[in-house]
Symmetry: C2
Subunit: 320 residues, 2 copies
């Protein structure tokens, strides 16, 4: 595969934090950064840059509300791996963001649903003005109407955003969907780089990611051992092994899986688990499956499937 | 996807038996058959039809050496799901095989390495003469030289075999490899149906299987909850959900996962496990990784990787 254009963005801490409420020790994150850097991974998303004033979650670990001076303690010596943070519309206080020249962060990614693209672009303009690389991550693309997406493309094309992401929030897309979306994004956003963020509900996250890379998508999201919400993400170790670019080294990733991810996976769960497969297949948010997994009925798959597919199920019970 | 040509062959008992030495109870197998039948799965491979006289393994469960009268006890009432058994070259006593009219089996599959295709075809001719549907499963295709394969195609094309399988024994192929092989098989074996048997070392078994189905491959091997040697197979529940044919019902598969596979997975392991990922990536037989997983060093991935990739490693230590 011609994949020398591809860059890996590891989002273990940011997306994985949705599994363990960002309860990663400083040593863990420091070790992960050193490992990703040794492996040649291009970016590490080290958390959310949301504001604790705008979002409940005081009990969450510090990676949910990144603070610049804290970050300098964690990463006293930056390597080649760049750092990114994600912000959500309505949860970020713009006054918290320093100019890039004063920050350890290189990239700020803005996540939004399709209805909030304008608000997201407002933030993109600001962060771009501060000197950051920027991305726009339109979530839940599998629930987006074609006309809304085409409207959004017009504004996105005019903006200074560097990268636009295809985000398969529900893990419901297959390679033909990815090809369709990537082709559409390329046609309407010819000046932009593209990214892919896949979830592994149907064991297709890696396969969809390499299908996107083959079509020219540059930014490939992944996480070590797949750690991410619910079914998790495309596995960093698979991408690092698979991409032909000689700068990638698998061994440091294997070491950090051994040291950090195996013990962690014994305490918290993510990955291919039947209720997540079902929400993926049914193109639904995984929150109902996450609730099931936290209950005594966690392995009652057939009953859960009945609930998801019954025409009598009221929307609230389905988590819509 | 136009996939109404596709048939699912569930090989949970046969390939999964490689994980637990075929230690499935009669109730387990009966329950699985009823579930597959209710789900509309086309074939169930209920074991090996090897001879205990020709193969060590007296401690193995009865599914390794299927006996016709035993089989009648297990499946007193056959449904629509057909039954198949696999035989290995040199391990089957042809005198053990009854004519199809006297057997519960509908299909006999012959597995061989490329060097044994002639011997395999001898068996195919016999079993075809007995009235069975037959398949030829050429294992380890990722280690086969092009010229040997082309020679084999000449003999296979002349034989009465119904289905020829693309077998990714090491889980080392991606969708482009599958497309390449399927196109080649189709060109050289125009009168034959094709099958795919994928392993999940790189989380590509399902993705490769649907890529093959899209190219017209008819027989799709799978196992419930992916149970199969080492990284396991394409998951039956994923195929049953994904294929558009309305005859497939997911619910009975979910029930049998709940009842049988979850408790079993707590006792024996298969699936995406780093050492199996490594042998897949490196296009090696998983036996060295299986030995590692049975040892105290089972999670020493980096050391294992060094061993697999060191030029000084002697072949025997690599299990070649």
């Amino acid at each position: 595969m011609k994949d020398s254009h591809a860059k890996i963005l590891d989002c273990t801490i940011r997306d994985g934090g949705l599994v363990n409420n960002w309860d990663f020790s400083v040593e863990f994150v420091r070790d992960l950064y050193a490992s990703l850097n040794a492996a040649g991974v291009d970016y590490m998303e080290i958390g959310y840059k949301n504001s604790p004033k705008l979002l409940k979650g005081a009990d969450a670990g510090p990676w949910r509300f990144l603070d610049e001076s804290f970050l300098r303690d964690v990463i006293p010596q930056k390597g080649n791996t760049k750092l990114s943070a994600l912000v959500d519309i309505g949860r970020v206080d713009e006054n918290d963001i320093l100019p890039r020249s004063e920050s350890l962060l290189d990239m700020i990614r803005v996540a939004c649903y399709i209805k909030d693209v304008d608000k997201a672009l407002d933030l993109v303009y600001k962060f771009h003005g501060y000197g950051y690389e920027t991305t726009l991550n339109i979530m839940a693309l599998s629930h987006v109407m074609e006309n809304d997406l085409l409207d959004a493309f017009v504004e996105i094309a005019k903006s200074p955003v560097d990268v636009v992401y295809v985000v398969d929030s529900y893990g419901s897309l297959d390679h033909r969907d990815i090809e369709y979306l990537v082709t559409k994004f390329q046609r309407h956003l010819p000046g932009k780089q593209l990214g892919i963020h896949a979830h592994n509900n149907m064991q297709l996250a890696f396969s969809n990611t390499i299908a996107a890379a083959e079509r020219g998508v540059q930014f490939l999201d992944a996480s070590v051992f797949g750690m991410g919400r619910a079914a998790g993400n495309c596995n960093t170790e698979l991408l690092v092994s698979y991409l032909k670019n000689p700068k990638y080294e698998l061994r440091p990733i294997l070491e950090v899986i051994e040291r950090r991810m195996i013990p962690l996976r014994e305490k918290v769960e993510w990955g291919y688990i039947v209720p997540y497969m079902l929400t993926g297949m049914l193109n639904e948010h995984p929150r109902v499956a996450m609730a099931l997994r936290a209950s005594e009925d966690k392995d009652k798959y057939a009953e859960f499937y009945d609930r998801l597919t019954s025409p009598e199920t009221v929307p609230s019970a389905r988590g819509d």
